[in-house]
């Protein structure tokens, strides 16, 4: 049994009197899509923020590839191989699509304290960026300004940026949010292909996507994990049905 890629132990975070993350423990293995579901306000994004380093937890530990990263800054975690996408699209609208991704490739390619050579002409960075764009099916838009992309394309771009940091684990915060039906199909197929190379912690509201993609699912309600298991187990779990799935079917 190999050690899990990501291991969260007893993570807690309070905002005033409210426990948004309440002693959460979970694991993501390499090659696994671990979905995190739960009703609005359950603390899913807050959890992602703590794992990615955007927010410091009050208690608990985060282990990544066996190393304690609880106190590491976000840039350091990314360089260790932990990449994330954002629920609200986070790109550089004034940069070209290619340069958005090339910046991520640059972070993985030696020093950036270089002053004379134009970065736009660096073949190695551009090739790596194009590769990541091709992986998400956005290579044909490389020259477009990122701000001019359609919403679904921006979601793809976020993914390409995350891939270009050469991660081992992807934290995906609602990658399907706001995507149209066709885009959703494309993105689901894409996420399915990612499984082969990365561990994925997936926060998603689209239950069809979650049950199609996830190897395991954890259900978060009021900051607590009330169940973890394979999709059929979660579907059958009465507590989960009461707390969450029932809402959709009612």
């Amino acid at each position: 049994m190999t050690a899990p890629l990501l291991r969260i132990e007893g993570l807690s975070k309070r905002f005033g009197g409210l426990a948004v993350t309440d002693a959460v423990s979970l694991e993501v293995r390499a090659g696994e899509i671990h979905a995190l579901i739960g009703p609005n306000g359950a603390g899913k994004t807050t959890l992602i923020n703590q794992v990615s380093g955007a927010l410091a937890p009050d208690a608990g530990r985060i282990l990544f590839a066996g190393r304690d990263i609880t106190r590491l800054s976000m840039p350091r975690r990314v360089r260790a191989g932990l990449a994330r996408t954002f629920q609200v699209t986070c790109i550089l609208p004034g940069f070209s699509v290619l340069e958005n991704v090339a910046l991520a490739a640059q972070a993985r390619d030696g020093s950036s304290f270089r002053f004379l050579r134009p970065s736009a002409g660096e073949d190695r960075l551009n090739r790596a960026a194009l590769e990541a764009l091709a992986a998400v099916g956005l290579a044909h838009r490389a020259a477009a300004p990122a701000g001019a992309l359609a919403h679904g394309e921006k979601r793809q771009l976020e993914l390409a940026i995350a891939l270009a940091t050469r991660p081992r684990l992807l934290l995906l915060d609602e990658p399907l949010a706001g995507a149209g039906p066709e885009e959703t199909e494309r993105l689901i197929a894409l996420l399915g292909r990612l499984r082969a190379d990365y561990g994925v912690l997936l926060v998603e509201h689209d239950m069809r996507a979650v049950f199609a993609l996830a190897d395991r699912i954890s259900v978060l309600v009021y900051g607590r994990v009330i169940a973890t298991g394979a999709p059929p187990e979660i579907r059958a779990n009465p507590e989960v049905r009461a707390a969450y799935l029932g809402e959709d079917e009612a």
Binding site: P75, A104, F113, F115, L116, P118, S119, E122
Partner: protein
């Protein structure tokens, strides 16, 4: 092509100016002043336009450079090979120390804290009794180059300023296009995005402050030489505001805009002050109108139109 053509024409015009009616002593002095302030403005444009860091204390770096010249002059040292590195180093160090603190803040707080550091430098200069205090300090002579008095010659000084301005401009432009500048520009657009791909913007921004500070120091040396006089007013916050204004007037989108802005500012100020005693009444509204109607600044007016 035209993106390169405008700065090229600008430098060609500055090179030809002494033979096109700007050859008289006073006109040359005015142009030198514009080029020197333009140099400081290019450094500031790297910060404001490139990194998105609006500093209201940039004149302090000019002041540190100028007062380094004064301090060495008072001790009988006028050799450029010594004066230049000392002055530039002092200004860079000042920028490093103040930048390290200022960069802990952002937005309006950054503006206010740079203003505060600028004022501290201003009052320090005012209290330097040995260097004239409020009254300032008259240099005995211009900085020497290898023991020669080359810089005393107006034409030589003009081309020295022009050459250094070109060097500063080319370096800043290259740095902004290179990896370093890409991180700076990205962090200006969206710092979270930059952190989320693995860069901490802080060291890049700090180095940008140091580069701008070093350029400010160099301009300070030249300004002290141009007027052969240094006073605390070099470091006043009004001077910082003027520099910021040159950058905005010229256009935040390009570095040569800062030079255009400085030229326009200095020449307009000169021309208006000849027309009327109340020239500021005209100058102020003109500046407001130019910002309102030339969004891309002077450089934007000359740039190719995008469809």
């Amino acid at each position: 092509m035209r993106e390169r053509a405008v700065p090229l024409l600008l430098f060609a015009a500055l090179a030809a100016a002494p033979f096109l009616g700007f050859g008289e002593g006073y006109a040359l002095t005015l142009l030198a002043r514009a080029m020197i302030l333009g140099m400081a403005a290019v450094g500031l444009a790297l910060l404001v336009g490139g990194a998105g860091l609006v500093s209201l204390g940039h004149a302090a770096t000019l002041g540190v450079g100028a007062y380094a010249v004064v301090a060495l002059d008072a001790n009988g040292i006028v050799e450029g090979a010594l004066v230049l590195p000392v002055a530039i180093g002092a200004a860079a160090l000042f920028a490093l120390a103040t930048g390290a603190v200022s960069l802990r803040t952002s937005g309006v707080h950054f503006i206010m804290i740079t203003l505060a550091f600028g004022q501290m430098a201003f009052f320090t200069a005012s209290s330097l009794a040995a260097y004239g205090g409020d009254d300032g300090y008259t240099l005995y002579a211009r900085t020497e180059l290898g023991g020669t008095r080359l810089l005393e010659d107006r034409l030589v000084f003009h081309y020295a300023c022009l050459g250094l301005l070109a060097l500063v401009f080319l370096f800043c432009r290259a740095a902004l296009a290179a990896r370093f500048g890409r991180v700076l520009r990205a962090a200006r657009e969206n710092p979270l995005r930059v952190r989320a791909v693995g860069f901490d913007p802080y060291p890049y921004r700090l180095l940008a402050c140091v580069i701008a500070g070093a350029i400010g120091g160099l301009s300070g040396v030249l300004l002290a030489n141009a007027t052969e006089f240094v006073a605390p007013s070099y470091l006043s916050w009004q001077r910082s505001g003027e520099l910021l204004f040159m950058v905005i007037l010229g256009g935040l989108g390009s570095l040569h805009g800062a030079i255009l802005g400085a030229l326009a500012y200095v020449l307009l100020e000169e021309w208006l002050s000849h027309l009327t005693e109340h020239w500021r009444m005209v100058f102020g509204p003109l500046l407001v109108l130019s910002v309102l109607f030339f969004r891309g600044g002077l450089a934007g007016l000359l740039a190719p139109r995008r469809r």
